[in-house]
Amino acid sequence: MTLQPNDRVAGVPESGIRKFFELAEERDDVISLGVGEPDFSTPWAARSAAIHSLEEGRTSYTSNRGMSDLRRLISDYSRRWDHEYDPETEVLVTTGASEAVDLALRTFVSPGDTVAIHQPNYISYQPGIEFAGGEPLGVTTTAADDFALTPAALAEAGAEEADLLVFCYPNNPTGAVMDADEIRAVAEFCVDNDIDVIADEIYAALTYDGDHTSIASMPGMRERTIVINGFSKAYAMTGLRLGYALGPAAAIESMNRVHQYTMLSAPTTAQYAAIEALRSCEDAVDEMAAEYNRRRRFVLSRFEEIGLDCFTARGAFYAFPECGGDDEAFAEDLLKEEGVAVVPGRVFGESGAGHLRVSYATSMRELKTAMNRIETFCRNR
């Protein structure tokens, strides 16, 4: 037979998101709370800079690591989270945070390495680990801990043996945020057990009622952490495909080895947009974050009124209520009966079972209607 996928690829199942996407596409009256990207458009100043760069004919490759102005701005921007990364050697601009995650896994995972990953979690990590030849080790986080990762959970899963930890807070799908003390405890576990960390901080700017803490800023962590961030969420730039990795020079050099052969450089137009975004769109980000925060409180208070248990998600744009039963059946019935799409928690790992990922990256008007429909659905159930 021709063109047979190799075992690694064949071994990765199709994403459970796909099924709900197809169900939701079947009807046109659906309000979707299943979307993992902002409902805002990229701030106009950034779009306008991208258009201008096109008008000027700036459509060639950039340097492998990204335009130097952009790396300098990223380095400056990152200081807000106590990061100090040299723009020349410690910043790598990538095609979305997605590429940065993939690069980090392919660069630092050796075949057979154990890669710990807290769950429920963003769906790309586990396949990424498998594509890289690593062995994923799921570490369960629970509603009782507000979905924070704890040293106890790490130990329980046997993560002392892990070579690497993929760490993502604020988290997709739970919306969980970890505070500095909780992160310090995880950092200590990593230092004690000599575990490197890939920290996906793409939702850092969407942290509410408090500020984001980066695990890389904890003692002993900088030298063992790759920080990943991007423009998709904070700047509503998903389709422009731009992200970046920060890390010690030698590690970034190694990631760039893969990047320079497989990607050459991140999209040039997007880099122009990102430069302008960092220069002038801080207010726009604050406004979007303020709006998400209002929606977050609205959704959480509606869940309380409806009687679905939901821990206080403090980041990203997701709430993760318990649905009291089979999440997949709940989500399917909710879609069929009330035309509201949510994503069953199990899609994000077994420990997400019994929960729903509810995205509030949707206008207040739609959220109100959707929450009313969920209320009706729960009443009739």
Binding site: I17, S32, G34, V35, R294, S301, R302, K368
Partner: protein
């Protein structure tokens, strides 16, 4: 942001939210929202609640003009006094003292261009301190009060995504 500040910012995007929905979004009780609203109104921070109307979508005749006014002040009469006289006309929608080539920028509405012109020539121009008026009729409104009148709709996101 404190709750009062946040309430203001919420009202300035949508003043028609119910008290209950505002309370949910701010994470406070409805009673607290009512109290804050009373406070904002009493202290004169919130001066009113209005719809942003695209009159072109109605059958009404609705004409609006921006008018530049130059004034000459004298010992007895300052900007405040002149502003007070102009503001009392219900035809005057807005009135601002501005920097630059002229002094006041006002917006005037009426049922027809003639209506507006007559109002300017009969009521505004004769005010002794006013030395010059320049009227700009509004031909098309593209954006008002932060709201874009262009109908670019379209949520083209995938309905379910990671």
């Amino acid at each position: 942001m404190d709750t009062k500040r946040e309430l203001l910012s919420l009202l300035s995007t949508d003043a028609r939210e119910s008290t209950e929905d505002i309370a949910r979004q701010l994470g406070v009780d409805p009673e607290r929202v009512e109290a804050l609203l009373d406070e904002l109104e009493a202290e004169g921070t919130v001066r009113g609640y209005q719809a942003v109307v695209d009159w072109d979508n109605t059958d009404d005749q609705h004409v609006a003009a921006f008018v530049e006014l130059n004034v000459e002040l004298n010992r007895e009469t300052g900007y405040e006094e002149i502003a007070d006289r102009i503001a009392r006309f219900s035809e005057v929608e807005s009135l601002r003292l501005v920097s630059g080539d002229y002094d006041f920028a006002i917006e005037v509405t009426g049922d027809s261009m003639q209506d507006v012109s007559q109002f300017i020539s009969n009521q505004i121009a004769p005010i002794p301190e006013i030395t010059q008026t320049v009227t700009h009729f509004i031909m098309e409104t593209y954006k008002e009060a932060g709201i874009d009148f262009g109908d670019r709709d379209g949520d083209d996101r995938l309905s379910v995504s990671p």
